[in-house]
Symmetry: D2
Subunit: 341 residues, 4 copies
């Protein structure tokens, strides 16, 4: 093994502060493991943290990004969950193991990798062993690296908190990472899937992935389109990804006693919507903030049993991070992955 | 039995159109029962319907109000659920029997008594037998008349949809009918109850009913007060009664993974709130539109086993409806009841 | 339309009492519809009722069987749910519409078609309109006739009461009607499916339907086989169809916090099992008695969105009922259907 | 602080092997805390472990009992959950933090204090800090020591897994520790509580604690008595404590869609019951094996908000353990507590 490794780090906020540096490979302490990173996937939030800091108390220097897959290559004393050679993926909120989250009403928990905790854009990372989860056997490392945020968010909304069943109608907004995972997860549970997009080309690709219906929201009122497609029954579960003002439309489109999962970056926007249909149709609106490790383990099992393959729009080598971030700005179809080792 | 009866009816919208008239006592048809009304309770919504019509296709002439208790005095052919002499209460949305509601995404169900269906401010009413539920044995008729809307709304939010358990913290806004039922129901399930009000006098009365804490929201920021009272844990379940803009405050006050039940009149207001804490704390926001008959039956059993006595601020005789509506305008502490027979 | 129709009826208990008779076509009364029966499917229970009466107060003369699909051809006054030409299927317990069942602890509800209520082995049936549910569009009548008992039982156990999600492991015992529906429903929700059978040939056919694993329970201890297949994790949901003594094995095979759905004919057997693993693994054991109409509606939607096609082992014309019952005795692979009109 | 302490230990199985010895006070290592034990409460299981070993791989020498309350008096490096002076209680299965339990289908988890892990009948204990939970403020140490097994078992069955609501009927068998906690917890949630016992005197004491009804099961068939008391509706939730054969009675007594929680010592008995009512009434039968730490935290909050005071039949000083075990044999009314420091 090499003594040094490359990693992206920044000593101050701003994309121009990103620096690809060579540092000593870290050693795992008690209860820690070192993982050789094979792939990291990017989320829009990573871009926000890089560009704005999002008000977080970041480690200095800061390594961005939260999602990776790799292979355990060294373990510290007291490690029992993994051994060298195991394939693992990271968890986004590593302190959230099961049902109850940490934090409180005044200061909700937001201790995440690539945030308050160090990130993963490095050839090796060292973290406590219980910050990782086993990678699904049916995915390669690039695919596996897309699960911790985008995949788990869709799973947590639709399955862990949504209890989706076959015959339900699910609508996902757009064709980004969470949306396409939502499409695939809903499809794998026998749901009827509707995708909205402003691009006919992306809608065609979504249909090729299994979507039953596509709505070009630049060409028609998507709420009316859902009424048409569902015979006025409405949508049982909406992944509300578009953000704030769109909620009002989702409240119109949702079925009686349906669900709306609010997903999005934490950039200070407001939600708003009409109270009338919210009372009369009595949907549940649930904020979704990724999910816990136990759900990630459930989801990994589901990946293996369903054969879902994450959709990766493009791969970039580690040194091309800036190009990858530019791609994020353009709105990828699915995920952007950084290949390492 | 008399051949004629008194009832309030209106041939057009407006409080000045209310007329106390004498009409023939109606006869029950197949599957219908006639109930001699002992008491009717008023909801703020009744006032809105009387004054604005709320855009509903009201029967002509229209008898207002939805909530009553009384005694079955005649049954039509094919009636099996009740017999003469049974004490019954009305249901608000009589077509909603159990889990699934009627209506669809475009046109949610709003077929209610004192609305699209005829109301109950009459000495006798005739409705299908499955529009009624047995009155709790432990309540008199005036008390029982307060359950179908105000009581059931609080029950449905906290228990049927809320799964409340002892040790949880519940906050109710104000001291109206729904709020005080919320207080009593939460207390009966071992919860810690916080009441907000702008009146110290009302807060004292709420504490006498069992509230653990009162917050005078004209004297302090009620969200900060909940942080103080809960050691920053926040409120597990908030009955959001105040309406639209208040939701933003409730999102700040709610505990991690808590619940906010939206309750209110359907007067076109907007909800709005910050997305950040909604995502990070991941509460459930659920619209509540009263509840189904099965939950009313559950609630009636709970009334008997817990000894909850609905809080009635004032009783009025049938002829004093206008005074009762004026009292509603002033904001009663609990419920206003019209006594009939 | 003809004035007369054929039907199977019996004036006394016993297979030799079955008589194919010609009677007048019945007319629908108020709130009733007449359905031209296209297909009826048989359940093992039908055989028990025919041969033993099962202690039920059967109508006289009695028409057996509960499950049918057909086309509405006449409606009585006051019917709103269906119109002539609609394709419908029957419900097994027609009084059970949604969450709460009828009956009480002493006398549970068992008012079913082909039991306390009249059955469906007739060219026309007349029942109240709310005893029917719309047939799925994607099935022909023979297929649709298999849903009301066998299909709904599996759906109710796995989905309505089971909340199945992808990645879970489901085990179904045997390859009868309920088991194969269980296989298909579990597969459509992304579960890993294990089938047990004493026949390698049937196991091969089950795998062709999508089962991941087959266990020949005459060749190996099926519990040990589940440990082997799941890496000792056990089975998340077991459809316990084999009956009484088998429960002890299922308790050994079930995963920690898993589920066991007890399904079976009501022929007086006993359940028994070891308390130790039941306490330590804390599974839920749930009796399943078919399901309610709302779940049948959900299931029908799921049939359409997933493309599940019920497995029919053999079709018989109406006059060959005795041959069909003989086939039931031999243990069909899936369902037996009687074709009418 | 003293350098030595007293503790009960045994080098071999058998009540005559119990030895009150004086040993050095242990020191906390990394992530451990030392707790000065104020009180320990006994469970029937402790007696079984002492007398039979229950087949467990016990530490040598073995200190019995699992339930204690005390005060933190020293902390090791890295401890963050507690500080000296905090009042704490033990957890029974310390590895079970939240929703998902450990272990697998073949070997369920049974790593408990006073079992595979060391016990608490000592003046000081040293365990990892996350093996403890904060003691409720409203209880003294003797009372608090009764929560980890008896209290949590009843809470887990009725609330965490039972979702009990006011108006439901709960039946508890007997007047032991779990039963009386069940009574108090059910009462605090507004349920109607029925207690069975063979002693009129104990039934009177149970009524004084809030039970609505007592059934002397040596004088009448308790199932028929529940029919009488509930108007044939049956019991919504039965705490099945009596063991194996009694389950058949509970299946008869349970309401349609009710729940039966199986609670008991793991002494190899069998459960058995009739399949007919199990299918027709479709209750849930759930094995209960105490509960997780998060539920113990919830329960502690509920203790404070409801004012429940655990029922302690007798207190014994540490040296009188044999007398306390004899009392356990006689069947206490509630709990037996050993007072230490």
């Amino acid at each position: 093994m090499a003594d040094t490794m490359r990693r992206w780090s920044m000593a101050a906020i701003g994309r121009d502060k990103l620096k690809l540096e060579t540092v000593a490979v870290p050693r795992p302490g008690p209860a820690e493991i070192r993982v050789k990173v094979s792939a990291a996937s990017l989320n829009y939030r990573d871009k926000l943290v890089i560009e704005t800091g999002m008000g977080l108390a970041l480690p200095q220097p800061f390594v961005p990004a939260s999602d990776m897959a790799g292979v355990v290559d060294a373990i510290g004393p007291g490690v029992t969950r993994f051994k060298p050679g195991d394939r693992v993926i990271s968890t986004f909120k590593p302190d959230w193991i099961d049902a109850a989250d940490n934090g409180n009403a005044r200061v909700p928990a937001y201790q995440t990798l690539g945030g308050v905790y160090q990130g993963v854009l490095a050839e090796y990372v060292v973290f406590p062993d219980n910050w990782f989860s086993a990678a699904p056997e049916s995915l390669n490392d690039a695919e596996a690296s897309t699960l911790p945020v985008a995949g788990l968010t869709a799973w947590f909304a639709l399955i862990e908190r949504g209890g989706l069943k076959a015959g339900s109608t699910v609508l996902v907004q757009g064709t980004g990472g969470v949306a396409l995972f939502g499409l695939q997860i809903a499809k794998a549970h026998g749901a009827t899937v509707i995708v909205t997009s402003r691009s006919d080309e992306k809608l065609e690709k979504a249909k090729a992935l299994g979507a039953h219906h596509g709505i070009n929201s630049s060409e028609e009122d998507w709420v009316e389109a859902t009424y048409r497609l569902t015979g006025d029954a409405g949508v049982d579960h909406i992944l509300e990804i578009a953000g704030g003002p769109s909620l009002a439309q989702s409240i119109r489109a949702v079925a009686v006693h349906g669900k709306i999962s609010l997903i999005g970056v934490l950039d200070g926007f407001e939600i708003a919507g009409p109270a009338g249909p919210l009372l009369l149709k009595s949907p549940v609106i649930q904020g979704i903030s990724v999910g816990h490790r136990r759900a990630l383990e459930d989801f990994s099992r589901a990946i293996d049993s369903t054969g879902i393959k994450p959709v990766i729009d493009a791969h970039y080598p580690l040194e091309d991070l800036q190009a990858a971030l530019n791609h994020l700005d353009r709105g990828p179809f699915g995920k952007i992955v950084i290949n390492l080792n």
